[in-house]
Amino acid sequence: MTIEKTFKAEEVIVKLDGRLESNTSSKLQEELSPIWEEGKYDILLDFEELRYVSSAGLRVLLNTHKGCKAKGKVMTIKGANASIREVFDLSGLSGVFAIV
């Protein structure tokens, strides 16, 4: 999986390409934690090129969502395909995450 970050004034766009599974999710955690810890940016996750998310990936997403919220920021997910939406629905996280 590749991770591409673009910093805007108040938002960081994070584009993922590949599979968000057990091995790659720790890499994403390392990239996202410093962003929400700083509390300066909203995070927009671009899933246009992401194939799927397993539970290890969900853990990072939930963690990031909570981290942003605690700092008064928002994590938004865009471009999620049907496989990713299925995982969000099954896990009950469709109603938790901001998905556009």
């Binding site: 599979r19 599974e21 057990s22 091995n23 194939r51 799927y52 998310v53 397993s54 539970s55 290890a56 969900l58 853990r59 939930l62 969502h65 909570k66 919220k69 049907a82 496989s83 299925e86 995982v87 099954l90 896990s91 009950g92 996280l93 938790v96």
Partner: protein, 133 residues
């Protein structure tokens, strides 16, 4: 069945996914993704919990494709039946939510059958996904 014998560690998940996906050319994109998610959940469980982390151990992953895709995971670690794990409450608010138990819950929902058996000192978990479903 085609078989991959591999050390049970998280870094090997790529190799396991590549091995399995070689057999999934005839599956739809959606089914391929469901199967790969299940493989990630089950192999990572073995990698994390089956063995003492300092000594480690091996796992076998077997795949057969006919009218269904059948995948078998075998390890010689501690006896563990993930199907006995209680389903998580997926209706909690974000503050109360964790991810514990969600992996096996998703596998049960996405596959057509998930079976566990203990054979001697081995854990064997078999998942099946009907093609065309």
């Amino acid at each position: 069945m085609n078989e991959l014998i591999i050390e049970a560690k998280i870094e090997n998940i790529d190799k396991v996914l590549s091995f399995v996906s070689e057999h999934l050319d005839d599956c739809s994109f959606g089914i391929q993704n469901q199967i790969e998610i299940a493989v990630d959940e089950l192999f990572s469980n073995i990698a994390r919990y089956a063995y003492n982390p300092t000594t480690g151990g091996g796992a076998a992953v077997r795949v057969a494709v006919n009218e269904a895709v059948t995948i078998e995971f075998e390890d010689s670690g501690v006896e563990y039946n993930p199907l006995l794990k209680e389903d998580p409450d997926v209706t909690l608010s974000d503050d109360e939510r964790g991810i514990g138990g969600l992996g096996i819950f998703m596998v049960k929902n996405m596959m057509d059958s998930v079976e566990y058996r203990r054979e001697g000192h081995k854990n064997i978990l078999t998942i099946k996904k009907n093609l065309g479903s």
